[in-house]
């Protein structure tokens, strides 16, 4: 009887230690390739800002439920369109992983191209202006006539800067 006591105590201790782990929320769910492909087009709605199939936000029950819903819809013969509509009704447009290419969201898709075009035009403009600029020695000034700073003032400022920042 006395020999059994430590064994019993150890077993109880192990059970107590395991208890929190056994009560962990779990979310394992196996997805088909089709489910993964469709799931990649939606965001997890738990607020983690991750794509649904990539959310492994520890203890995230939202992604588990959404993936389960997705899997079940596919198993019941649901199409990508019907699944999308279902999620849209449930969560609104924020469920999309990327902005749809219509309406106000088009702005998000167009802006990077606009930036690139404007930037390129700007670079071309700068290059052509630099090409046209007459070659002058920096010390001789070269400041435009409209400038409030005369070449002498600029030279003085340069000399002062050189003096101040001597190492």
């Amino acid at each position: 009887m006395t020999r059994r006591r430590p064994i019993f105590a150890m077993a109880l201790l192990l059970l107590l230690a395991t208890l929190p782990v056994l009560t962990m929320p779990t979310s394992a769910l196996q997805l088909s390739d089709r489910a993964k492909q469709i799931g990649h087009k939606f965001m997890c709605m738990c607020g983690c800002n991750q794509v649904l199939t990539e959310c492994n936000h520890v203890g995230c029950s939202t992604s588990a439920d959404m993936l389960k819903e997705l899997n079940q819809s596919l198993a019941n013969g649901g199409t990508e369109e019907s699944i999308t509509q279902g999620f849209l009704q449930e969560f609104g447009t924020k469920v999309y992983a990327e902005p749809p290419k219509s309406g106000f969201s088009l702005v998000a898709w167009t802006l990077p191209t606009v930036y690139l075009v404007i930037g390129t035009l700007l670079v071309i403009f700068v290059i052509s202006r630099w090409r046209k600029r007459p070659a002058t020695k920096p010390a001789a000034g070269g400041v435009s006539a409209a400038s409030h700073v005369s070449p002498e003032m600029l030279e003085r400022a340069r000399a002062q800067a050189a003096k101040d920042t001597e190492d």
């Binding site: 779990t26 979310s27 394992a28 902005p99 802006l111 990077p112 101040d164 920042t165």
Partner: protein, 685 residues
């Protein structure tokens, strides 16, 4: 100690206020005593911030659970290692930590230039004090880390109380990298304050724009290095802890750290145009201003909760303060620029479109377009809610589509830029420099295609990586060959000698090579595979050439958490290789869960095994295994980027030697390839 820390923080605020207001008075009156006293007030501010920070750390180490911040972010069983990290795990502590790191920089600058740059330093000191003043205002009056814990007593009057234990640290932060990732990232954010202070100071002092660049180059590079390291450590943390199989999810907080890195990188390149040709003075000033503002914006995004993120560990309604600060800084920068812009005129002309100058312009364009596109995507959910009432999410697929092409363009310029000559590049030079690397790149592309790497962007990326690596290696080879002809030493020794003769140029090449490795790693992402399976003990699953056998599930009680661990045997081609132990952790104090991924990493691929929990339908443990090719190259590339930056910060060996031995060596002619104008003077990349 809490009163002591709180008092130190208040005194720091008063000193910073004096350094700022007194600094303005010193600039106006130019009174030497006032200049000296404001500089000393600046140093006192830093010392007091150090005291306040160490006081808060002391409260963590001594488990002082009468302080609200300590209660919220620590507990008795929390390992000492993580009690250090608890300092920046919440809003109040992280703001104090911002001030602390900024104080380290400010103190270093004030000490380093105490007897130099007499006219410029009052301006610089005043700007630095202004930034410190903002963060000290937050720490003193908005989010104090020294608030005592209180609760209403029986009579309804608030009474100080102390808890027996704290709530513990967020499980996601209980990982070794979380002790070094935030300090690095914050050192990057805060470090950009120094070039900002010099740029604004120089503009206010009407400096024509050449000298502040020289003074701040090393500070900018240090900040950039920390920012790069911080981003990479953050990516590695996300990879090893979050367990989704990736390292970069285009999360708003990740994006926030990338934005100043992009503008900082643009600045480090365009600054050479100013040093070498006296061009882009206005552009450089604004790049520094924008980099600093993006650092503050990054902190705002992380702290305000305006965008949701798994990385935003500390959020509150502090956003208004940041918006106000960003607005004021922007107005001051704009005012200073409009008033003194005539001092920033460039005089030099561009001789040819095919030149280093043009490549830098396009490099800046790509970096800036990337930055603005990422910023737009990050803030688009907020804008869409303002304009339409609907919040539209912008996730990783959008950012990948927008940024992969620009990233590839940038990679191409990384190879092209350094090989173009300043002013003008001849056709012969183009053929000589690019012929071989281009051929090597095309041959490599054909080999990759034959090996089955046919995903368009990945294939292009790998071809460009080989091309860029070839251009860099050829540069080292050509330089080392000249030295070898004279010294007869080995190629490796000659390459080291070459690097040390012009650390900035060859350090830069090492950084570029590091970026090539990072891009190789990124190209691998297109070929990621994953399998998830419920497993009984003894069952197997196959992924690539690996067979995983579940040998058991056990429980490992630790001081601060209890781990459920999978014992997974890995076989390659049916030969036993090793055991992997992916874990799920349950933290005792806050009843939160954490995960610990098991990774077997090689240069070819990572076997990444996650304990995905228990399937509620089968009650069986589930393994989620990923096979991620080439990931290790990213971390290796990151180390190389940091190493290259350190090399670029070193003084040129030869320049020192030549100065010391000038009389003896004056008569010896140098070979053409090592003429002083090309390799010996600092500032020539």
């Amino acid at each position: 100690m809490d009163v002591f820390g709180s008092f130190a923080l208040l005194l720091a605020f008063i000193c910073a206020l004096y350094a700022f207001v007194g600094g303005i008075a010193a600039i106006v009156t130019r009174h030497p005593l006032l200049v000296k006293s404001t500089r000393q007030a600046g140093m006192a501010t830093c010392a007091l911030i150090f005291i306040a920070t160490f006081s808060l750390e002391y409260l963590f180490f001594t488990d002082n659970f009468s302080i609200a911040y300590v209660v919220s972010h620590s507990n008795r069983d929390l390992p000492t290692f993580y009690k250090i990290a608890a300092l920046w795990s919440g809003m109040e502590g992280s703001l104090l930590f911002w001030s602390f790191l900024l104080a380290v920089y400010v103190f270093s600058v004030l000490i380093a230039y105490r007897n130099r740059n007499g006219e410029l330093m009052p301006y610089v000191g005043m700007v630095m004090a202004g930034v410190q003043l903002f963060f000290l205002t937050l720490s003193n009056f908005v989010e104090s880390p020294f608030k005592a814990l209180a609760s209403p007593g029986a009579n309804g009057v608030m009474q100080f109380v102390a808890r027996s234990d704290g709530n513990g640290l967020n499980p996601l932060l209980q990982y070794p990298e979380m002790v070094i990732h935030p300090p690095n990232l914050y050192s990057g954010y805060t470090g950009f304050t120094i070039p900002f202070a010099f740029a604004l100071g120089a503009l206010l002092a009407k400096y024509p724009g050449e000298k502040w660049i020289h003074l701040t180059r090393k500070w900018t590079m240090i900040a950039w290095m920390f920012q790069s390291l911080g981003i990479l450590l953050g990516a590695h943390w996300a990879y090893a802890v979050l367990g989704w199989g990736g390292y970069w999810g285009w999360d708003p907080v990740e994006n926030a750290s990338l934005l100043p890195w992009l503008t900082g990188t643009a600045f480090l390149h365009s600054v050479m145009m100013q040093e070498k040709r006296g061009m882009m003075k206005v552009w450089n000033v604004w790049l520094v201003f924008c980099t600093f503002l993006l650092c503050v914006l990054g902190t705002f995004l992380t702290r305000s909760g305006v965008v949701s993120s798994v990385h935003a560990f500390a959020q509150s309604n502090i956003g208004t303060w940041f918006v106000g600060f960003i607005g004021i800084v922007l107005l001051v920068c704009l005012g200073a620029y409009l008033k003194n812009r005539d001092y920033l005129k460039s005089e030099t002309q561009l001789d040819s479109v095919i030149s280093r100058e043009s490549s830098f312009l396009f490099n800046n364009l790509i970096l800036l377009v990337s930055c603005v596109a990422v910023l737009t995507g990050t803030l688009f959910p907020v804008f869409s809610e303002w304009f339409t009432g609907d919040r539209i999410s912008v996730g990783a697929p959008f950012f990948n589509k927008v940024n992969i092409p620009t990233g590839l363009l940038l990679l191409f310029l990384t190879g092209v830029g350094p090989l173009l000559a300043w002013r003008k590049t001849s056709t012969e030079s183009l053929k000589r420099n690019f012929g071989l690397p281009l051929a090597i790149g095309i041959v490599a592309g054909a080999i990759f295609f034959a090996l089955g790497y046919r995903e368009f962007y990945s294939l292009i990326c790998l071809i460009l990586c080989v091309f860029v690596a070839a251009t860099i290696l050829l540069e080292f080879y050509r330089g080392a060959k000249v030295i070898r002809a004279r010294s007869g030493a080995s190629f490796a020794a000659c390459a080291i000698d070459l690097t040390m003769r012009n650390t900035r140029r060859y350090g830069g090449y090492i950084v570029h090579m590091g970026m090539v490795f990072v891009f190789i790693g990124l190209a691998g992402a297109a070929f990621n595979r994953d399998v998830q399976k419920d497993m009984r003990v003894g069952q197997t699953m196959q992924i690539g050439q690996y067979t995983l056998v579940l040998q058991g599930v056990d429980t490992k009680p630790e001081k601060n958490y209890t781990a459920q661990r999978m014992l997974v045997e890995v076989l390659r081609d049916n030969k036993p290789m090793m055991m992997l132990f992916p874990e799920k952790r349950r933290f005792v104090t806050n009843q939160e869960n954490g995960t610990m991924v098991a990774i077997y990493s090689t240069l070819k691929e990572d076997l990444y095994v996650v304990f995905a929990g228990e399937n509620p339908e089968t009650n069986l443990p589930s393994i989620h295994a990923f096979l991620n090719p080439l990931v290790k190259w990213i971390w290796f590339g990151g180390v190389m980027v940091v190493f290259g930056t350190i090399v670029a910060l070193l003084p040129n060996r030869r320049a020192v030697f030549v100065l010391a031995a000038a009389p003896q060596r004056a008569a010896q002619p140098l070979p053409h390839a090592l003429s002083p104008s090309v390799t010996l003077r600092e500032g020539h990349d």
